[in-house]
Amino acid sequence: MSDTFFTASPHWTWYIILYFFIGGIAGTAFLLSSLLHLSNLTARPSDHPTDRPLIHLGYYAAFIGVAFSGFVLTIDLERPLRFWHMLIQNHTGVPMFKPWVPMSVGVWGVLLFGLFAFLAALASLSEERPSWRQLQSAPIRFLRHRGPSAVIAVLGSIFGLFLAGYTGVLLAVTNRPVWADSSLLGLLFLVSAVSTGAATMILLAAWRRAGHPASIRWLSWFDHRVLLLELLVLLIFLVSLGSVARVFLSWWGVLLLVGVVGVGIVAPLVLQRTHRAGSLRHHARAAMLVLLGGFLLRVVVLLSSNQIQVLGSGVVGP
């Protein structure tokens, strides 16, 4: 029996599942918007003017997502008003930072990513709303220049990728079953976050009729490959669990197989393959399935482990 079976559950449940899901989307939506933005910076001005609304939507989604993440992270604490103890030591007033603790690094990561997402969203709003005088001040207009916007895009993307991947590392740096029995959970959550981020961008494009058709095709092309990678990483992750994988010989395993693999990965892959040059509606349909699969992945990983706990002298499983 794995030594992880003798530990107690931290009961990280729906708030944390939501945070892992939304935070991952926020980070990778920023990355994809930034890639489009940086690509357009080096293209001819006439190339893809229709991409601007999509880039803006991605930045808005990133900012709203990270703000929501901060909110659910705070209310998940047993003492929410002490959230600042993660940033400042309450006894000494000096910054609290443990580089070897993913939760400590993560809090700063969320904060810094939030800053870049805010700046990018502010610049986007300024560009979209020229009539709003408050948004046309010199500092805000400065953010829209090539140099500053590129710096925000690059640094924000780095923190966005961090936000998408550190959540799995955070779980791995515990002693809980499933989470700590493999080193691949961070990679799995990262890849899943990127696929859900691309799916979100496709849905945003479909919703607002934004984005150049070539950009939508790029997002779909990208998501297709990321889904293939996700399937591969998921398989390797399950193998790396060894005997602990028997946790999934339960309803959690059914949900993993049907919900995550079937609905969330294989079905979108088939849809994307059968409608390669398909309409935005087909892309959107596949994207919705990807989002459902990404959410279910986090549900399965968190709740299957949470159900295993020490009771008396024995261990109670799912």
Binding site: T4, F6, L35, F83, M86, V173, W218, S313
Partner: protein, 271 residues
């Protein structure tokens, strides 16, 4: 270890535990720990063990392990008063993101209630499932090894209350000598299974609350080889970083491919 006093801890000889739960009661009383569900606690129904686990309101837990044959003609009780192990390399202290968990001058591990914000990272990190949220204070709590009593030169409440001296308190150095002598005595009496758990530095740098067991650790609900949670930090981070680089590169390759396709289409149109 914080400078000052000598490392102190518990040595629990499970062979003399009679399951009276005096330690549980003394701990609850001294530390003013609340009753489960306001006193409406349900019995386990299948054991004399109704405490069931260590958590934020149960800092001592007497385990009852029944080892009986199918027809119950042969068997034995194993009893063990479990508690926080006050690990020399404490996983909870290592992962606490607020600095609420500290090491005291007695080499024990204590959660500062005024700093903890209830993030529960320590609960998942503890290899022994010791820590839990106290529903009254809404922060993570566990045995403090009666830090307040130690500072006043007193013995912890549980060991003082133990009627059989199953729980011994004192300097770790002396406790280890006592425990090794007891193991030798039990071996001479024919109990060859007697061994110490956590007295050496094989895992977590040693436990400041260690045990004399007469069966495998798993039988007592103890992990055979508890580990630090940060063992996964570097490999997990490296995999994630490599993945992030690969995915960003894939995105850039896709955009470059798109541009090349468009240039080619434009060239075809121009021709």
């Amino acid at each position: 270890m914080a400078s000052g006093a000598e490392p102190m801890g518990f040595y629990t000889d499970t062979t003399v535990c009679i399951g009276c739960k005096a330690c549980e009661v003394a701990c609850k009383e001294w530390n003013q720990l609340p009753a489960t569900e306001g006193g409406a606690h349900e019995m386990s129904g299948d054991s004399y063990d109704n405490t069931r686990r260590l958590d934020g309101i149960h800092w001592r837990h007497v385990k009852f392990i029944e080892q009986f044959s199918e027809d119950r003609s042969d068997g034995r009780w194993l009893m063990m008063s479990d508690v926080c192990k006050h690990c020399v390399n404490a996983p909870c202290l290592e992962v606490c993101p607020t600095g609420a968990i500290i090491r005291t001058e007695f080499d024990t591990v204590v959660i500062q209630s005024d700093t903890c914000n209830g993030c529960r990272a320590c609960i998942g990190a503890c290899p022994f499932g010791v820590i839990g949220i106290n529903d009254v204070s809404n922060v993570a709590q566990k045995c403090t090894l009666c830090y307040d009593r130690l500072q006043a030169g007193m013995e912890p409440a549980c060991s003082q209350a133990c009627p059989t001296d199953s729980i011994r308190f004192g300097p770790i150095r002396e406790l280890k000598q006592m425990a090794e002598a007891r193991v030798t005595q039990l071996h001479q009496l024919g109990e060859k299974r007697a061994h110490l758990y956590g007295a050496d530095e094989k895992f977590l740098g040693g436990l400041n609350s260690f045990y004399l067991l007469v069966d495998q650790p798993e039988v007592y609900g103890l992990p055979r080889s508890p580990k630090m949670p940060t063992r996964n930090l570097i490999p997990s981070s490296l995999w994630s970083t490599a993945g992030a680089a690969l995915l960003a590169l894939l995105g850039m390759v896709g955009l470059r491919k798109r541009r090349m396709d468009e240039r080619a289409a434009e060239a075809d149109t121009d021709v």
